[in-house]
Structures are given as C-alpha cells and as structure tokens.
C-alpha cells in the first residue's frame, strides 16, 4: 500500500487538485445546480467512456488507433433510430443482410469445394477474381431491385424528421409496403444467396492452402443455416413482423433497437478488422490513414442515407410520462408514472439523460471489467497487451482474439451512439465531437488503461458541464463587481487545458503506465 502511494504520488496529487477544484466550483452553486451539473457530467462521461473504452481496448491489444470510432458511434445511433422509428425498413433490410451473410458464412463448404478444384495457380487466380467480380456485380443488381421501404429525404412529409416527430408524438403508423415489382420474390431470395455464394467461393479459391484439409462439421454449418432460415422467415412473415414491431411496447422496441445497433457495430468491427486492418498490422501510419478515411466515408454514407439535418431519437414510453403526478418525487412514483423527470433537492432531473445513461455507463464499466479480469478471453487480452508472440507460442489463436476485441470495441462505440441519441439527437457531426472528447479523456486517463478511460471520461464530462453551468450563472471575480461568464467555445477548450496540465505533470496520463 505504502509503495503504491509513493509510486502514484503524482497522480494522487493531480487528482486531489482536480477534486479540490471541482469542489470549489461546486461551492459557487446552489445544491440543486451542483447535483444536476454532476449528473450531467456523469451522463456525458458515460457516453464518452463507451467510445473511449472501445478505443482503449483496441489500442491496448492491437496497437491500432481506430480513428473511425467517432463515425461508428454515429452509425450506431442511426441504426438504432432506424430500428426504432422505421421498423418496417429494418425488417425489409433483414432478409438481404442475413442471406448475404449466410452466403459468405458457408465458408467451410466453399473452402472444401475450392480444395477440390485442381487448377494451375494462374488460371485459378483469374477464375477466382472473375467469380468475385461477377458475384458482387450480380449482387448489386439484385440488391437495387430488392424492395425496401424507406424514407425520402427530398419530401418533407416523408423525411426522417417527420417520422421522428410522428414517433415522438406516439403516432406509430405503418408506412406503405413496397411490393416486389422489379424482381420476383423467389428470384430475389435465390439471387441474394447465389450471388454471395459465388463471391465467397471466389474468395475461397484465392486462399488455396487454407481450409482445404479441414473437414466440414455440422457445427460449422449451423450458424449459416440459422442465418439462412431467419432470413427466409423474415421475408415470408415480413408484414406480420413489421406490424408486430409497430405495435409492441416502445420500451421493448427501444431495447431491440439498441441491441441491433450494438450487433451492427460488432459486425462492422469484425468486418473492418478481418478485411482492412489485418494486412496493416505492422504499418501504423497506414492504419491511421485507413481508419481516418473509413470515418470520412462512413460520414458521407450516413449523410447520403439519412440526410444532414438534425432530428430526434424519441425516448421510449418508460421515460416520457408527464401530467399531474410528474415530476416524480420518489422512486416509487417514478416507476408508477414513468415520469420524464424526478425532483431531487428541489431540482428537476431528467430521468433518461441524467440517471439512466450514467447507470448504463457504470453497468458497462463493471461488465467489461469482469470480462477483463475474470474470463479466459480477458486473461488472453491482458497477456496479449504485453507480449503477443508469447501468447501465440502457447497455442492460442491471438488473431481471433484481435477480431473479437476490435468487434467489441466498435460495438461499445455503437452502443454509446444509440444510447446518447435519445438525449442529444442525431446529427452526422455527433461522432466527431465525441471522438475528440474520447481522445482527450484517454490522454488524461492513460491511453492503454481501462480504468483510466473511465476516469478520464468522467473528468471530461464533469469539467464540460461545470463550464456550461458557469456560462449560465457566471463566476463573480474576486475584488471586483465583474462577473465572468465562460463562453461556449471555452467548454471544449477547458478539457484540452486539463489534458495539457495533466500531461505536463504525468506524461502517461493519470493511470497510464510507461511503455
């Protein structure tokens, strides 16, 4: 204990100074202002933490700075919104996505078949690329003809803004279904499966040596089988699932929306790592350019699909109660009336933004902590951060763990986006701001330290919120009558200032260790 104190004396002093600083800042406010400011700080801190934690996990094990993390956070928000506000679009999309995944997921089968093809390397390569091109080309044709109900950015009454508004008002009307008119349903389903299978087979032809000797077991066919089945079922029962989702409790729908957002983040992360990041493991500069570029591409795609204007992600019914009994004065009333606000110390506290989000943030912190400290995967991650080669020399497939960690990190960011969208709204720029906050939080807390990510995020959130609050009430300057009101641009600047001060004293951040 004593040596620990001495070793971390600088960090303890800095933390104490920050705590005193925050305490002094809090003394200048009334009790309810302090409470609300601190809760908001926790809320912003939680969302920042979700992005920063993913960032730190990925950087710690893979040494990759994933600058697309902000965009992936934003994509999580937009995916969640789509499932929540337009379940019909989601159900329409489900079939093509699952069938394409199924086509690729039969990889064991394709690998085995490719192993049977006896060809000289050169024609084999040519044929493989030809199959890949033809497969993807036909896939594009089928996809563009596949009917998907969607909003229309150019028509105001059918824009995301309008649908958001309607959902917010509780008007959950099922939009008109789009019929199979440019392609027959059977051809569409078969086409999706077949074209992705052709592409996957082409890819299998390219990696000649892999998979050949491996046998096909039922377990390897189980996952693609399930994907295929669910995809077809989603197509057959399309309108029934849609109306079921439109009529379900918005609480349940909200949970589903968040889950799908996380899953899409995990999927995107796995795809990114296996296809794009993996070839660049020893080239950090290329990784930076790649992830930065991917972030920009993602941003443009989101703008093209969902449009630039800001719109809201309506809150589920649990958090929007109003009326005579609201704001709630105690927890029991809160649960009985589902109030959107609760009175604490005489101040109105928003339940979703200022209580629910921080609680979720803390739960995620604990869960990831348990994953890292208690599970075998966590053990491999902690060991791999230090010495990748030795872990591999023990017979552990570190690559698979890499993919998993990357997927998990991106999933966390997507989770943060979907969670935050209900409180902050959706805009294509939401990711950039948060990426910056998350990076600052990591610099403050220590880049590879997971508790550091949490501490840094919390500090960033608190300082931002205190600055915003003082922007409203002003700081009376000593010995004068003047009142200083920090202007909004000082809010992000204050976090940067904190980072500079911390890094000057502790170059590795508060909880970081020397490399």
């Amino acid at each position: 204990m004593k040596t620990n104190l001495r070793k971390n004396s600088k960090a303890i002093i800095v933390l104490t100074v920050i705590a005193v600083f925050l305490f002094v800042a809090a003394r200048g406010m009334s009790g309810k202002d302090v409470l609300i400011t601190v809760l908001r700080g926790f809320s912003i801190g939680s969302v920042t933490f979700l992005v920063a934690a993913g960032f730190s996990l990925i950087f710690g094990l893979l040494d990759v700075l994933n600058l697309a993390q902000g965009t992936l956070y934003m994509i999580g928000a937009y995916v969640g919104w789509t499932v929540y506000v337009r379940p019909d679009t989601f159900v329409d999309l489900l079939t093509p996505i699952l069938l394409i995944l199924a086509g690729f997921a039969f990889s064991a089968l394709w690998g085995r078949l490719a192993g049977l093809v006896k060809l000289a390397p050169k024609p084999r390569k040519t044929i493989a690329w030809l199959l890949i091109l033809v497969g993807f080309g036909l896939l594009a044709v089928v996809l563009t003809r596949y009917p998907i109900a969607k909003w229309d950015l150019d028509v105001y009454t059918e824009s995301p803004i309008t649908y958001s508004y309607m959902a917010d008002q509780g008007m959950r009307i099922i939009p008109a279904e789009v019929a199979f008119d440019r392609i027959s349903p059977f051809l569409a389903l078969a086409g999706l499966l077949l074209t992705s299978a052709i592409s996957a087979f082409g890819i299998a032809l390219l990696n000649r040596d892999e998979n050949r000797s491996k046998s096909i077991t039922w377990r390897k066919l189980l996952v693609p089988g399930i994907l295929l089945l669910v995809g077809i079922l989603a197509a057959v029962f399309n309108s029934r699932i849609t109306s079921w989702m439109f009529n379900m409790s918005t609480n349940l729908l909200f949970v589903i929306a968040i889950l799908i957002a996380v899953l899409s983040g995990v999927g995107l992360g796995a795809l990114m790592e296996t296809t794009l990041i993996r070839p660049l493991y020893n080239r950090p500069i290329y990784q930076l350019m790649l992830t930065l570029g991917l972030g920009t591409i993602g941003l443009q795609i989101v703008q093209a699909v969902w449009g630039r204007p800001e719109f809201v992600f309506p809150k589920p019914e649990f958090f929007i109660g109003t009326g005579g009994a609201c704001p709630a004065t105690n927890i029991r009333d809160l649960f009985a009336n589902h109030c959107s606000t609760i009175l604490l110390l005489g101040g109105r506290v928003r339940v979703y933004d200022e209580i629910f989000i921080p609680i979720v943030g803390i739960i995620v912190l604990i869960l990831v902590w348990i994953l890292l400290k208690r599970s075998r995967i966590g053990m491999i991650i902690r060991a791999g951060v230090q010495d990748r080669q030795m872990v591999e020399a023990l017979g552990i497939n570190v690559r698979r763990v890499f993919t998993l960690v990357f997927a998990l990190g991106v999933g966390l960011a997507a989770f943060g986006g979907a969670l935050a969208a209900s409180s902050s709204g959706l805009t294509p720029t939401m990711g950039e701001r948060l990426l910056l906050s998350a990076l600052i939080a990591l610099a403050i807390g220590g880049l590879t330290s997971f508790p550091g990510a949490a501490l840094g995020s919390l500090l960033v959130g608190l300082i931002q919120q205190f600055m915003i609050k003082y922007g409203q009430i002003g700081i009376p300057l000593p010995f004068t009558d003047a009142v200083f009101k920090p202007s909004p641009p000082l809010v992000p600047a204050s976090t940067v200032l904190l980072m500079v001060v911390v890094l000057l004293i502790l170059p590795h951040g508060l909880l970081g260790t020397k490399e």
């Binding site: 075998r376 010495d387 080669q389 030795m390 591999e392 020399a393 023990l394 017979g395 690559r399």
Partner: protein, 234 residues
C-alpha cells in the same frame, strides 16, 4: 530411436534480416539436445523458427511427421510444443495462477497437471496469487518452465534457462530439466557450457547462422579444440 523433430536446411528471417543461413539437425525422441554457439549466432532464432515466430523462407521443419514451416505459430504450438523463452516472458498483469492457466489448451489441463508441476516447483504453490513479476528471477524461470508443462507438450524448447540465476538455483533447475526429459523431448539453448554438458546427450553448434557441428555431447566434451574454436571457452 526415431526423431521427433527434423530441421532441414532452413533459412529464416526476422523482419528483413536473413538470420539463419542453412541450419540442419535432428532431435531424437526423448533426448535432451543443446544448441550451442556464441552470442548472436542464431540459436534463439532457430527455436523461434521451429515455432513459426521467425519466418522460414527455405527448408523444412518436420515435427512428429508434420511439416510445420509456414504454419501459424499457434497451430504449431498446439501440436504439442512448449516454449520457455529467454527473459522468461512472464505476463506481468496476470497472477502466477493465471500465468499457468493461460497455457491450458483444454479445460482442466492445469488441474490434472498441478500435482506434477507443484511437485517440481513447490515454491510456485505458495505464490499463486502474486503477480507474475513479483517473483524473484529464479522463481520466474520456474514459472516460465511450469507454464510450458501445463499443456501436453511432447517437445519443450527452453531458451537460456540458467541466464542470470544464482548457482544454487541453477543446480535445482538442472534437476528439474532432467526430470522433465523423462516425459518430453527437450531442446535447450544454453550459453553456459557447463550446464549444457551436464544436461544434454546431443549437441548442435550454430555459428553465424549455420549449423557447423552436431553429435553426442560426450564426444564434444572430449574435443577441447572444437570447444575452444566454436565456443571460445573451455
């Protein structure tokens, strides 16, 4: 006696550096074979090549009848090769128990081997909850060897086991490796010729990336000229 490992004329690279330029030897099953040579001769790279941690561009490595060159390191290790690297490579963020547990290839490996392991290294049992790096150098070396014993490994690659250890502890370690060799074949890299000659039945001398001599250890011990020529000391 059959050979568990055959290294056939390999050329290996670490990054772009051509380190091994024709290394060739066999390891008889159940033996202890010592790789000898001066610093930087390529002994450690030879061990890394066997495990796939160094890139083998030419030649073949055959382990239990399987050509392993070009395979992923984790696949090679999973065939039954345990690795004790130089400087031990204990995971500092893991407890002693976790350092052992991470080497499990099947659930319950550690449990079934624990009697054997703690019989060899009674010290480790006392320190299960300490961080790996809170151990002394000798204990870390024991932990590194113990880690290679958790899974069923028929071949152990041990790099510089005596490095930086006190003479008493070296003595203990020699006994441990002798006991191990009753169950697994051992390939040993050793700077300390006295230690190597006490342990090994066979030797391979590597000089500037080439294997220049190999044979029975007792023949080498008798050949003072050769020892002087290749190892500098006698």
């Amino acid at each position: 006696m059959s050979n568990i490992l055959e290294v056939k004329n390999i050329h290996s690279f670490i990054n772009q550096y051509h380190i091994l330029q024709d290394v060739d030897f066999v390891v008889p099953k159940g033996s202890i074979t010592a790789l000898l040579g001066r610093n930087g001769a390529g002994k450690t790279t030879t061990l890394k090549s066997i495990l796939g941690l160094a890139i083998v561009r030419e030649g073949k490595i055959i382990f239990q009848g399987i050509e392993v060159q070009g395979m992923q390191p984790f696949e090679i290790a999973a065939l039954g090769i345990g690795f004790v690297p130089e400087h031990r490579a204990i995971f500092r963020d893991l407890s002693v128990e976790e350092n052992l547990k991470i080497a499990e290839r099947n659930k319950g490996d550690l449990e079934s081997k624990s009697a054997f392991i703690f019989d060899l290294f009674p010290d480790l049992k006392k320190f299960l909850n300490l961080r790996g790096t809170e151990l002394s150098g000798g204990q870390q070396q024991m932990l590194a060897i113990a880690r290679a014993l958790v899974a069923d490994n028929s071949l152990l690659l041990i790099d510089e086991p005596s490095e930086g250890l006190a003479p008493v502890i070296i003595e203990h370690m020699i006994n441990v490796i002798r006991q191990l060799s009753k169950q697994s074949t051992v390939v040993l890299v050793e700077q300390n010729f006295l230690v190597a000659s006490k342990l090994a039945e066979y030797f391979v001398i590597i000089e500037e990336g080439k294997s220049v001599a190999s044979g029975l250890m007792k023949d080498l011990e008798a050949d003072k000229a050769m020892i002087h020529r290749y190892l500098g000391a006698a």
